[in-house]
């Protein structure tokens, strides 16, 4: 096209609304978080500059390092389960058996319905006295009495992970399924002709061919899980006695619950630093993978 200058101006004009929107609603708040983290902002309208005091406080007083560690353990298990279950689901849904389409549709609801509503249902299932999990375990005689899953630290920790896995699995499954279907059929046919069994074909063809998809998805899933808020907030609000308090919950409690905006912002900045690191890893991985494809 002619006149490069006007083309660029036209492109920028097309971009302007998106750019302005994101700058105002995301970039500015991000900047504001950093600024606030060096102040003692609270409910009152004025606040003072306090330097590094907030950071000093969160790292010396209280259990912030414990919260960070817990967040990583929580995220690690959740993402691993999502990947393993998602892969198993994709393999099964990829099999050419009657009912395939229906099964695929039935996989989607947790991803589609409002997250909060799915979580309400889990809340009831975890109910110790009357919920389904405790109830069925008792009916089958596996446990000797009710188990109130959300009432104890250990079980609540795993219960929130399972719910998070439940919400994440459909997307992972369908993404893996699509990646699986884009693997050329000839590879399988050639291997099959040579007498390779089903598991062997999966290990030697499917798995290596899906490495890019697995890396992409686990990093995206890592970032989403690290930021997971709704599930823990609805099920336990970070309790009992802090056993499910991840960094996001911790920040929310400090900032919105206790109205300590400054200190909350400092905690948010620490989250942002971790997320930025994940982001950089993700971008690097995507670039490497696309270079690999080009070769």
């Amino acid at each position: 096209m002619t006149s490069n200058r006007s083309a660029v101006l036209f492109a920028l004009a097309l971009l302007a609304p998106a750019l302005v929107y994101i700058l105002v609603i995301v970039a500015y708040p991000l900047f504001d978080t950093i600024v606030l983290s060096f102040t003692n902002a609270a409910l009152k309208p004025t606040y003072d500059w306090v330097g590094w005091a907030n950071y000093q406080r969160i790292f010396t007083a209280g259990n912030f390092t414990e919260v960070i560690l817990r967040t990583f353990v929580w995220t690690f298990f959740s993402v691993s389960f999502k990947m393993v279950i998602g892969m198993a689901g994709a393999v099964m849904l990829n099999a050419a058996i009657p009912g395939q389409t229906v099964f695929r549709i039935l996989t989607m609801p947790p991803w589609i319905v409002p997250m909060a509503i799915g979580i309400f249902m889990w809340g009831w299932m975890y109910n110790g006295q009357f919920g389904m999990i405790s109830g069925l375990l008792q009916n089958f005689g596996i446990t000797n009495g009710p188990v109130a899953w959300l009432a104890y630290g250990d079980t609540a920790f795993w219960a929130t992970i399972i719910t998070d896995v439940w919400i994440g699995v459909p997307m992972v499954t369908i993404y893996f399924l699509a990646a699986m279907q884009s693997i050329p059929k000839d590879l399988y046919e050639a291997a099959w002709t040579d007498g390779a069994g089903r598991f062997y074909r999966w290990r030697r063809i499917t798995l290596p061919m899906m490495v890019p998809a697995i890396i992409t998805m686990s990093l995206l899933s890592l970032i989403a899980t690290f930021n997971s808020f709704d599930i823990i907030w609805i099920l336990t609000q970070g309790g009992p006695s802090g056993s499910t308090t991840t960094m996001i919950i911790d920040t929310f409690k400090t900032a919105i619950g206790s109205r300590k905006y400054g200190e909350g912002a400092a905690r948010a900045v620490v989250i942002c630093i971790f997320v930025s690191i994940f982001c950089i890893v993700y971008f690097r991985a995507v670039r490497k993978l696309s270079q690999g494809e080009a070769k």
């Binding site: 500015y28 695929r104 009831w124 299932m125 109830g135 369908i174 099959w192």
Partner: protein, 312 residues
């Protein structure tokens, strides 16, 4: 059977036409040999899928059964999975227990619809700009948009709260719509850009040669061709906006009449003894429309998801 399958293999592979056409044919005998399973393989596949789908659907099954059980039965031991003398009473009573239930359902739809409209209007030109024009900083900007996706609204809650307050948007629909749309714009730009890259450039150039202005080209040439992509973006955005209504509505709005369904029900939790059967009934009525929609739109959802998970 397996012996037969093995020996028949070279034939199936060499006559490529047959193996290509076969998956479309319905009858079992014409399935490609490679897709044939022994009976125990089929059995374990179905068993595996049953376990998998039970995990995925258990909360919905339990939720539905709870909505049918009378409260007295819900709060009684021992646990029974199947409702005894179940009824649909909860579906009638809930309208009086949650007086604004209809309003909440409407709000959920209204908020998602407005978010979708905003996102589409902003994203179509932006995606076109990224797909067609090369200018310095384009890649940085694309990366920047992608990075926005990585930060959740929860992290930015404090400044967003202050921003909403200074814009005077707290306790209005906009307090939920404006930030909600922001976090859906970036992935939509990526998705639509990928789609638009597939529209041949020659079409733009032909229009240009014929003397069409750039805006006219976008409106009359690109828009109609990109329509399927735009539909996918709109559906994904609507679902995203509908599924994620929680944190902004929780913190930026305290007026019951503006609450979307999840928050309306969440508020209902704290008030008195939770009337679980009605809560579940209300949840089902609220999610039913989306459930019906996915049955018809699942093709688009898969397309959106796979294109949306960005591969450069």
């Amino acid at each position: 059977m397996s012996q037969l399958a093995r020996t028949a293999a070279p034939v199936a592979v060499e006559t490529g036409a047959i193996s290509k056409a076969a998956p479309k044919a319905k009858s079992r005998s014409s399935k490609p040999m490679i897709d044939r399973y022994k009976w125990y393989e089929v059995a374990s596949l179905y068993a595996g899928i049953a376990v998998f789908l039970f995990f995925v659907l258990a909360p919905f099954i339990e939720g539905f059964l709870v909505s049918l059980k009378p409260l007295a039965q819900l709060f009684s031991t021992p646990y029974s999975f199947i409702p005894k003398n179940g009824s649909f009473d909860a579906y009638i009573n809930m309208w009086t227990s949650v007086p604004m239930l209809g309003m909440h359902i409407f709000n959920s739809f209204f908020i998602s619809t407005v978010v979708t409209a905003i996102v589409v209007v902003i994203v179509v030109p932006a995606a076109y700009a990224f797909a067609r024009f090369s200018f310095s900083g384009a890649n940085v900007m694309l990366g920047g948009f992608l990075a926005v996706n990585m930060f959740s609204g929860a992290v930015l809650l404090i400044p967003l709260f202050r921003l909403m307050r200074s814009m005077g948007l707290l306790n209005t629909y906009w307090a939920m719509i404006v930030p909600g749309a922001a976090f859906l714009i970036p992935s939509s730009i990526w998705l639509l850009r990928t789609y638009m890259l597939r529209i041949p450039r020659e079409l733009d150039e032909a229009a240009w040669v014929d003397g069409a202005s750039r805006l006219y080209t976008l409106r009359r040439v690109i828009l109609p061709l990109a329509m399927p992509g735009i539909v996918v973006v709109a559906i994904m955005t609507f679902i995203g906006a509908y599924a994620q209504q929680f944190i902004f509505a929780l913190t930026f709005n305290s007026k019951t009449e503006f609450m979307p369904l999840p928050i309306g029900l969440f508020a209902f939790f704290g008030k008195q003894e939770v009337i679980w059967n009605e809560l579940m009934a209300a949840s089902f009525v609220g999610i039913l429309p989306v459930m019906i929609v996915i049955v018809f739109l699942q093709r688009y959802l898969v397309a959106g998801l796979t294109a949306g998970a960005i591969k450069q």
